[in-house]
């Protein structure tokens, strides 16, 4: 395992340059540049704020950062899942030419998506600092002080993204329609997560909040929202739940990769 991680580190210039190329080629010749990747969460947030604010009378100042953080994380998860499906095909020409540890191709996907996620999160922080904290007695200073609690969150999210990309990449090589099925599954999963429902409404819907609490992805939403929207560090319980989910995924990904790596090229 150490040797494997060492070999990944050894070709670090290669996969770092691939990530840079991906980012550059995505925005080559486009007007807004990096802005495009934020268009979806910004648009969704604006539309939903208008809908919920005007139609249902929800407090938009609290709801907007809450929703935006949720949408940004959802964007990250969707992109590692869907693009992770194609990561080995994307790297096919390198796999056929040069021997390298296979984990670098999902790593490239995870890092690229992670970059966009961080930009979105930066915007979310600015938005929430602009609208002010939920509890009136917590000053903006406390909001900023809570932000370092995001560091372990980022580590967990990175490992989550990498594992998901590995698993989806391997699955998609074996079963070519994994990507389509994943996209359909994601549509459903969106409504089983606390993204859109304003938190005040949750208390009244017992069964729905039960679904949310059982969903393994929910702790990640809390890990992000607690410091950014509410201005305090997340509880240790939340970290533990999230870490358990990440541990299970990482272990599965490592086993799957060990099993499939040698034969991968024959299935491409």
């Amino acid at each position: 395992m150490h040797a494997y991680l060492g070999s990944i580190w050894n070709c670090r210039f290669f996969w770092l340059s691939l990530v840079k190329t991906d980012l550059r080629s995505r925005y080559r010749g486009s007007v807004l540049g990096i802005g495009w990747s934020l268009l979806h969460p910004i648009a969704m947030t604006t539309i939903l704020c208008v809908v919920f604010g005007v139609v249902f009378g929800i407090n938009v100042r609290e709801y907007a950062p809450y929703l935006f953080v949720g949408m940004t994380f959802w964007g990250y998860f969707t992109s590692v899942l869907v693009q992770g499906c194609g990561c080995f095909f994307q790297g096919e020409s390198y796999i056929r030419q040069f021997p390298a540890p296979m984990a670098i191709y999902p790593l490239r996907t995870a890092l690229g998506s992670g970059f966009h996620f961080l930009i979105g999160l930066l915007l979310a922080v600015l938005l929430s600092l602009g609208t002010g904290p939920k509890d009136a007695h917590i000053s903006r200073l406390f909001q900023l002080l809570a932000l370092p609690s995001l560091v372990p969150t980022f580590v967990l999210l990175f490992l989550l993204g990498w594992s998901v990309a590995i698993l989806c990449g391997l699955l998609n090589v074996r079963f070519r329609d994994t990507r389509h099925l994943a996209e359909i599954g994601l549509q459903g999963l969106f409504y089983m997560l606390p993204i859109m429902i304003p938190p005040e409404q949750l208390a009244r819907r017992g069964r729905l909040s039960l679904v949310f609490r059982c969903n393994p992805l929910t702790p990640f939403f809390d890990l992000l929202r607690e410091p950014i929207c509410y201005g305090h560090a997340p509880s240790l319980m939340t970290y533990t739940f999230a870490a358990t989910v990440v541990l299970v995924l990482c272990t599965t990904a490592i086993f799957a990769l060990q099993r499939e790596e040698r034969q991968l090229i024959f299935h491409l």
Binding site: N10, C11, F13, F14, S17, L18, T21, S25, R28, S93, Y94, I95, R96, Q97, F98, P99, A100, R174, F175, R176, D177, T178, L181, R262, I265, F266, H267
Partner: protein, 251 residues
């Protein structure tokens, strides 16, 4: 000290008849049952025993489908053998399909960097070697263009320049040099000779039997995945030629 050793090495491809199966079909049509989606076994390499030492320049010949490219990929570490032992010591540089391993949207300079990183270089060493690579390839201003616009010959020039710039201890070449023009072929041969002078090791696959003796000292004749004959270049080429012409005469 560069060394290649293959001991009783075999590689069998197990290919299912329906290769790209969908999950829906997998479950509904029960394609995991061998009867529904049978395996086809392709014995690409069988019981290969090969030892190549420092200073050897080995040519590999054989009919189409004999396993020449496969054996090169096993040497490079891209294909893992089904059984047997593979021992390769030394830094490897390989030239397989010319169009592969290029980031087509990026220009020549960027690709020099990417391929060098994949061969184990650092940004500092790439900066130092960039210009000598560009000079050897003789591509000039074309290096500023995206690689998607290059011809096959231009790609070979670039790939070869990069592959040989790292002074590899083992060079593996698969039939790509024939695409280059005459002056490039001469240059390439000259550079490979230089590399040989530094006592390295080279394995070349080629159908060009006339130029092979100029580069290689030993040759291996592969037939249906087995080593049919191994010896000095001249011997093996002569035997191969007479065998092919003999078949042609009989038929």
């Amino acid at each position: 000290m560069a060394l290649i050793e293959l001991e009783r090495l075999s590689l069998t491809f197990r290919v299912r008849q329906e290769r790209t199966i969908r999950l829906k079909d997998f479950i509904l049509k029960r394609m995991f049952l061998p009867s529904r989606n049978p395996y086809m076994e392709v014995r690409a390499l069988q019981d290969i025993d090969l030892r190549i030492e420092q200073g050897d320049r080995v040519g590999i010949l054989g009919h189409n489908g004999a396993g020449k490219s496969t054996i090169l990929k096993v040497l490079a570490g891209i294909y893992k053998p089904t059984s047997g032992r593979r021992l390769v010591e030394g830094r490897i540089s390989s030239l397989f399909d010319i169009a592969l391993g290029f980031e087509v949207e990026a220009n020549g300079w960027e690709n020099i960097a990417y391929r060098s990183y994949l061969q184990g270089e650092t940004p500092a060493s790439v900066r130092a070697k960039k210009h000598s690579i560009a000079e050897f390839s003789e591509l000039g201003d074309f290096l500023n263009m995206p690689v998607r616009y290059y011809s096959a010959g231009m790609m070979v020039r670039l790939a070869f320049s990069i592959a040989t710039a790292i002074e590899p201890e083992i060079l593996l070449v698969d039939e790509v040099l024939s695409v280059g023009d005459l002056s490039f072929q001469n240059k390439a041969r000259e550079r490979m000779r230089e590399m040989m002078a530094k006592a390295h090791l080279m394995v070349v696959v080629s159908h060009d039997l006339d130029s092979l003796p100029q580069v290689c000292n030993r040759a291996v004749w592969l037939d249906h995945g087995r080593v049919k004959m191994m010896g000095s270049c001249a011997e093996v080429i002569a035997a191969y030629r007479s065998s092919v012409q003999g078949h042609a005469a009989a038929a």
